[in-house]
């Protein structure tokens, strides 16, 4: 083929132009930017090089090439060549639309790692000081596999973190779980928390200390009603209702209702119980009153009965919850006291805790604040006495949870051994090195009659706890296998599960680890695995496009929308085959977009796209000039940005609102900073679920806010530390919002002073105007500066201002390159509205690039086009764009490495290998 002939007949027109203006740099043995145009134009067909051509035509369209200081083609020639390439590209891409492209194995980003572990364990780990730092690639995101690395230092950190997470495992009598505090302390605190929550929920704990407030006694009045209804169920038309049904309807434990009913139906209740029973028997018959009056009457009667019960209880149980003691104190016989308190205990308390208010076992001195009792609370802390609750209130499931919690509490430290030592010390009984495990019958037999039953009870408690721990062990191994399947985001094959079990056995028998240590090591091993750290997508076939399996799709969905692993529902959908169809995938995506976890999409996707990522730690503002920034402004500004995009996503707003929303989210600090009137703020509606006290202010245009360009965080990151930077802001709009970046400035472009009030009195605007007199500067600056100047009334930390610091007035009008006049913020929004297509295209490209973890390819044009059309036709609700992406072949398929090995790419490789671009420093002598 001759040098003047294009390999593509349609591109013949391009050859002379390239020859004249481009080949000098872009051909020969060392072409600049590794682009040999003569090769591309004359030797290769266009469809082999779609992405290269796409880039070439972009450079031509943007006027970036040939460079400023080189000879330029005539505009008409350039346009003709651009048109020819565009049309050839369109033809060629039509056949390749939907190509999934090459997505390189992705490691979890630092953020994904943290979110994933949160969702696995429920713990808010702060790994920010420990995780390796991410780099950005592709369309500018951290989730691009081809720009991620791993080295031994990072892997060591992952192993370290895996150990840290494993230390939070609760390894006790129950199934494996995680808790915010690590180790044995974690087990203890978690057990206390679980016990408390059961007590709190049910009231009625049969011990309570001095000054304890009765708690939950109102349950009696409810239960008296239930018992009455049960007795008259037929007359009330409730013949089919069981006592349990009636109890449930009243919000009472069925077991408690049964207890009270049995007491109320006792044949010969002892005094003073008989008084209560008698009063209850006098509740009216259903027939005696009208329906409406009846309900009220029964309500009143049961409350009155409670009113009768309480003083009796109080009298009998005065100053103590111990029936024996109460009997002495009240001069009633202990039988009387016991008869009532066993049936209708008064206990339960305002502070449902194992606490130092609690009495201690009766073999010890129970007077409050005595040395013995204090020592008990210091050493042993807890004493269980909840017989009534267990026997008469809790259902079976809750009972078993409570048993596990107490076993965990006992097992979290040497509770029973301490108890034993305590009693031995008190009574001067030599214990030797005996502990609960080694207690001999003769030792117990030698105890006093008072102590023996107590010690025997403790021993059986202890043994039952040990048995419960031992029984739980095999389950923990299986729990880790299950944990691995969730962590690795797929089903384990039997061999993998087998290897985990084998490691456990080896750690126990070979390495002599105890059970908790072995389980923790096993968990750490799961979390250090490449199956956890990488998002593995299997592709056995090098060259073909393969459909991802359901679990891989589930992970793509969850990491796209939640930056984390699939939840239970998504795993179920994968298992049930619902992710085999594009519709099924889109359906799941819509569900997921309603989950609060999509806030992470606001943080990760929008944050990285628009540059407010980690703004809560932003340090680019001069702390001396703006001391309030880091102190009070930074954090609400970050919250404002995240809340805004969370609203766009979860509220499924039309994407137009990203730029043109007429509302703003502020708290009182921001409102003041933005100059929003207090009254406006008070009238605004609070943001649902906002912990930061944010409100939504409508008609934001009136206060110069609304949309992306009014966000404090955005205006701040696009400023210099001491002043605004119209250049930066303009560059940011072109690059991030419109997707039309200008090339980097020449190295010696010079700079303007850091401060807006400089010695020579020239304003930033004047300086830039001087700068633009140089035509080579003007080409980019005439695009950037006018956009930036339109935002000039927003100060360097995003506040609204009417003048510069030195009192000079602000001119925020400017003229765009096409001659359009732009007046300030509102004018800029109008101008951007004119360029909606660019904004939409950029949004779609960014979202797709983020979803796929790669750069946009020419073959994505079809999908991008569909997404843009979706916005044009249906307003572009966020979920509709997401649905388009997740249903696309790009999202559902994967291309093997061989599939994109087009001649160009091989050519590039061989060039590099041949040292065309210089030695790669990998040489080893």
């Amino acid at each position: 083929m001759g040098d003047d002939v294009s390999a593509d007949p349609d591109l013949g027109i391009a050859v002379p132009l390239f020859r004249e203006f481009c080949f000098e740099c872009h051909s020969g043995p060392r072409p600049k930017a590794r682009l040999d145009l003569s090769e591309v134009v004359t030797k290769r067909r266009l469809e082999e090089n779609l992405d290269v051509w796409e880039r070439i035509v972009e450079k031509l369209e943007e006027g970036e090439m040939p460079p400023e200081d080189e000879a330029q083609p005539r505009e008409a020639d350039r346009d003709a060549v651009v048109a020819a390439i565009r049309s050839a590209l369109d033809d060629a891409t039509r056949t390749r639309l939907g190509d999934p492209g090459r997505v390189v194995l992705r490691r979890l980003t630092s953020a994904e790692y943290t979110y994933t572990l949160h969702d696995l364990t429920g713990i808010d780990f702060d790994f920010s000081d420990d995780l390796p730092e991410d780099a950005a690639g592709g369309e500018g995101f951290a989730n691009v596999g081809s720009v991620q690395f791993l080295d031994s230092a990072m892997l060591e950190r992952y192993i370290e973190l895996a150990h840290r997470v494993a230390s939070h495992a609760l390894i006790g009598a129950g199934p494996l779980a995680f808790f915010e505090h690590p180790g044995e302390t974690g087990l203890e605190l978690s057990a206390v928390e679980r016990i408390q929550s059961i007590y709190r929920e049910h009231g009625f704990r049969a011990t309570a200390g001095e000054q304890a407030n009765p708690f939950g006694l109102d349950l009696y009045s409810h239960t008296f009603r239930v018992a009455w209804r049960f007795r008259h169920r037929e007359a009330l038309g409730l013949a089919d209702a069981t006592l349990a049904d009636l109890a449930r309807a009243e919000g009472i434990s069925a077991r408690f209702a049964a207890h009270v009913v049995s007491v109320l139906n006792e044949a010969e209740p002892p005094p003073p119980v008989d008084e209560i029973v008698e009063a209850w028997n006098e509740f009216p018959d259903p027939e005696s009153l009208s329906r409406e009056d009846l309900e009220q009457e029964i309500r009143d009667d049961s409350e009155a009965l409670l009113g009768k019960l309480l003083p009796v209880q109080r009298r009998l149980a005065k100053r103590s919850r111990n029936p024996d003691e109460a009997a002495v104190l009240t001069r009633a016989s202990s039988d009387v006291a016991r008869a009532l308190l066993e049936r209708f205990p008064d206990s339960s308390q305002g502070e449902p805790a194992p606490s130092d208010r609690d009495p201690i076992p009766s073999v010890f001195d129970n007077a409050y604040n005595t040395p013995e009792r204090n020592l008990f609370h210091a050493r042993l802390k807890y004493y269980r006495k909840d017989d009534f609750l267990v026997a008469h209130i809790l259902d079976d499931e809750t009972r078993s949870r409570l048993e596990i919690a107490w076993d965990d509490l006992y097992g979290s430290f040497d509770y029973h051994d301490l108890l034993l030592r305590f009693v031995a010390e008190k009574h001067g009984i030599p214990l030797g090195d005996r502990g609960m495990e080694t207690l001999d019958a003769s030792w117990i037999a030698a105890l006093s009659d008072e102590l023996r039953p107590a010690v025997e009870t403790w021993r059986s408690e202890y043994r039952s706890m040990r048995r419960a721990f031992a029984r739980a062990e095999p389950g923990h191994v299986e729990d880790v296998v299950d944990f691995a399947s969730r962590a690795w985001r797929r089903a384990l094959d039997p061999e993998e599960a087998g290897r985990l079990r084998a490691l456990y056995r080896d750690l126990r028998s070979g390495k002599r680890l105890d059970h908790p240590a072995a389980i923790r090591t096993l968990i750490a091993r799961v979390l250090a695995s490449p199956s956890f750290l990488f998002r593995i997508e299997r592709s056995v076939c090098e060259s073909e496009t393969v459909v991802l399996d359901a679990y891989e799709i589930a992970s793509r969905l969850s990491y796209f929308l939640w930056s984390s692993l699939p939840d239970r529902e998504l795993r179920r959908a994968a298992e049930d085959g619902e992710l085999d169809s594009p519709d099924g995938i889109a359906r799941e995506a819509r569900r997921m977009l309603q989950d609060p976890k999509v806030r992470r999409l606001a943080v990760e996707f929008f944050g990285q796209w628009f540059g407010f990522y980690r703004f809560d730690r932003y340090r680019g503002v001069d702390a001396e000039r703006f001391p309030e920034f880091a102190g009070t402004l930074r954090s609400p500004m970050y919250e404002e940005a995240v809340t805004f995009f969370d609203h766009i996503v979860r509220g499924d707003r039309p994407v137009d609102e990203i730029l043109f929303a007429d509302y703003v989210f502020v708290d009182s600090t921001l409102a003041e900073h933005y100059g929003i009137d207090r009254r406006v703020l008070d009238a605004a509606s609070p943001v649902e679920g906002s912990e930061a006290g944010f409100v939504r202010v409508d008609d934001a245009g009136a206060v110069h806010r609304g949309g992306l360009l009014g966000l404090g965080a955005v205006l701040t990151v696009t400023s210099a530390p001491l002043r605004t930077s119209p250049v930066r802001r303009g560059d940011w709009i072109l690059r991030r919002v419109l997707g039309k970046p200008v090339p980097p400035p020449p190295p010696d472009a010079g700079s303007i002073p850091a401060d807006d009030v400089a010695g020579d009195g020239k304003s930033v605007r004047e300086r830039l105007e001087e700068h633009r007199r140089d035509p080579s500067c003007a080409r980019c600056h005439s695009r950037m500066d006018p956009l930036g100047f339109a935002l000039e009334r927003f100060g360097p930390t995003g506040g609204w201002r009417e003048a510069y610091r030195d009192g000079r007035s602000i001119d925020d009008s400017s003229t765009l390159r096409d001659g359009a006049e732009v007046g300030g913020f509102a004018g800029l929004l109008n101008a951007l509205a004119e360029r909606r297509d660019d904004v939409y295209r950029q949004l779609c490209e960014q979202l797709l690039g983020y979803a796929l973890g790669r750069s946009i390819l020419t073959s994505d044009r079809g999908l991008i086009g569909e997404m843009v059309a979706e916005i044009d036709e249906n307003g572009g609700h966020f979920s509709a764009l997401v649905a388009k992406i997740v249903a696309s072949p790009q999202f559902r398929f994967r291309r093997g490495a061989g599939g994109d090995r087009s001649p160009t790419i091989e050519l590039n490789r061989s060039e590099t290998e041949a040292g065309r671009d210089g030695p790669t420093n990998d040489e080893r002598p």
């Binding site: 290897r499 530390p721 420093n921």
Partner: protein
Amino acid sequence: MSTRGRRSDSSRVSRRSFLCGAGVALSLPWLPSLPARATDSGKLVAAPDPVEPPRRFACVFFSNGVEPEHWWARGGGGEMELGRALEPLLPFRNDIVFLRGLFNERAAAHKSPHLGRMANLLSGAWVSTEQDEIRVGRTMDQVLADRIGRETRLPSLVLGIEPTELRLEDGLSMIYGSAISWASATKPATKEIYPARAYDLIVGSGKERALDRSILDGVLDDARRLRGTIDGADREKLDEYLESIRHIEERIDRATRDGRLEGSRRAPVEPDMPRPAASLPQDVSEHMRLMLDLVVLAFQMDRTRVATLMLNNDLSQMNFGFLDGVKGSLHLDLTHNGHDPAREAMYLKTNQFHFSQFAHLVDRLRSIDEGGRSILDSSILLGCSNLLDGDKHEADEMPMVLAGRGGGTLETGRVLDYRDRGDENRRACSLYLSIFERMGISLPRFGDATRPLEGI
């Protein structure tokens, strides 16, 4: 055979001397009479004498260049005159070599004025402009780490002050502005910015890692199995994982062998500085000082012989308000100062501050005796930036100063000017080849250079 004889000798004395060393540590002089472990000197040119203290290399980097007017040196030895940027080095005139005119051709030719001219400082390689890849070149410190790093617990120490920013600048990943050490063309060496973590790397015993073995075995197995189910570039990524496991295992092995390795040379085995606080220091100069002291500690304990420290990232927003009379951040306010004289003066102060950090390292290493010679005598230290005039992004020349005598291989107290010797004779990579030679490594070429620097 003599090598083998010595090795067994050393292993015989090692345990005892290791025990002696424990707890006594720092004031002990280097004991050259003890036999040293032989290096694998077969392939090496000018191998350091095995009984000599080992040679070390460190690079202290600062971003954004210097105020060019004050970047000069004249004369030699104690008479040397220094430009104001170099003022902190005045007490060390006899210990330094001032270099003018060195450059990296591919940096100077790069269109990205920052990132295209920084990541390649120590490699001379091209910074890729492809969006979907990160690629520069393996850097000279990592070549050194590969060759001489095997003798110590840590192949190299890669330190920094500022974290990596997660964004693109001019379409290039900010990773290019955050790493001067690259383990391979596509992978930056992990930079440690936490003093406490660096301390643990240097001082930690490694014994606590015993359990990790079973974890490593397990995950290695995972990786091998997965490898069969994926292809191409995915496999390369997984290979990084496999390689990392191998490195950790090597390190564990090395840590458990330390008794023998260190014993022969009687490096201190106890650190003479406390473990720094776990959090990042809020005070920049304290942070830098700690990192420099950690380099000293690592050299002193012979835990590594190669170190790099980035005092700031490219495009740094580091605020220098803590310097008297200085206001604003390094890149935007001070470097690009619009030739405002007040700002230029502040920029100069940051230059001086950076060289005072370098001077601190020189000073500390000079004060530690290793048997009649200081660590500085055995070291080559490079203080540098990637741009000369930071305001103009001038990469046609880089500010570079060497310190230390490289075990007697480098004559100091000199000023070397390469500006008018032609591009072939002023390549930074030639300097790196010269440094390799002095560290006992012979390479035919590196980066864009095929021969060492003349006259050094």
